[in-house]
């Protein structure tokens, strides 16, 4: 079974802090994704990565950056946290060589910025 692990289930930070959200997958997937989920807005893609050190902007990249130094790990960074970044953050991974396979999700990090 594919396992995607997000480092924290719940996180509380203060405005202006630099925040790191970590995600690790154990299935050697090429693609990794960061989403945020807000009521009524569904899942919105922040960034994704298709290889080590490669990244592409999603639909709402402003205020975020990412890092993928190793294939299994994809980090989301909030450079200077703001209250409007309070949200549920979901990480996912998928294999590119098997394009018909679904994305697999972690359990999410509920982030509150005070």
């Amino acid at each position: 079974d594919v396992k995607v692990t997000q480092s924290s289930r719940y996180l509380v930070k203060r405005t202006g802090e630099k925040v790191f959200l970590e995600c690790v997958q154990d299935m050697d997937h090429e693609n990794m994704f960061w989403y945020r989920q807000d009521p009524g807005l569904g899942l919105r893609l922040i960034y994704f990565s298709y290889d080590v050190k490669m990244k592409e902007k999603g639909d709402i990249p402003e205020g975020y950056s990412v890092s993928r130094e190793k294939k299994e790990r994809f980090s989301l960074i909030l450079e200077s946290a703001s209250t409007n970044q309070t949200s549920m953050y979901l990480c996912a991974s998928s294999p590119e060589r098997q394009r018909n396979q679904p994305q697999h999700f972690g359990d999410g990090t509920r982030l509150s910025i005070l």
Binding site: L41, G42, L43, F48, E56, L90, P102, Q103
Partner: protein, 116 residues
């Protein structure tokens, strides 16, 4: 433009009755179609997919979905709903003809409430 529509924000059904959660899509080519379920404070779980072949696909927990190419729909169904099916359901599409086809295009989700 590529898009996925889930026309109902909420669906209510009585336990034991059949349920349908609707999804329609607009993409340029032949899509890969997926359904996911999300329970409170959890990530999304994959339910089923349509890639090619038989238009009726079966998935986890007794769910099935019917692909209709002419109506560009992929409705999720279950013959007999359980209270434990109450959750948020997402439809997603992968458009292999898109310029960037690694991403999924997501519907906004449908909240299913099964009443005892």
């Amino acid at each position: 433009a590529q898009s996925v529509a889930q026309p109902e924000d909420q669906v209510n059904v009585a336990e034991g009755n059949p349920l349908t959660v609707k999804c329609t899509y607009s993409v340029s080519g032949n899509p890969y179609l997926f359904w996911y379920v999300q329970y409170p404070n959890r990530g999304l779980q994959f339910l089923l997919k349509y890639i090619t072949g038989d238009n009726l696909v079966k998935g986890s927990y007794g769910f099935e979905a019917e692909f209709n190419k002419s109506q560009t729909s992929f409705h999720l169904k279950k013959p007999s709903a359980l209270v434990s099916d109450s959750a948020l359901y997402f439809c997603a599409v992968r458009d292999l003809w898109a310029g960037n086809n690694r991403k999924l295009i997501w519907g906004l989700g449908t909240s299913l409430a099964v009443n005892p």
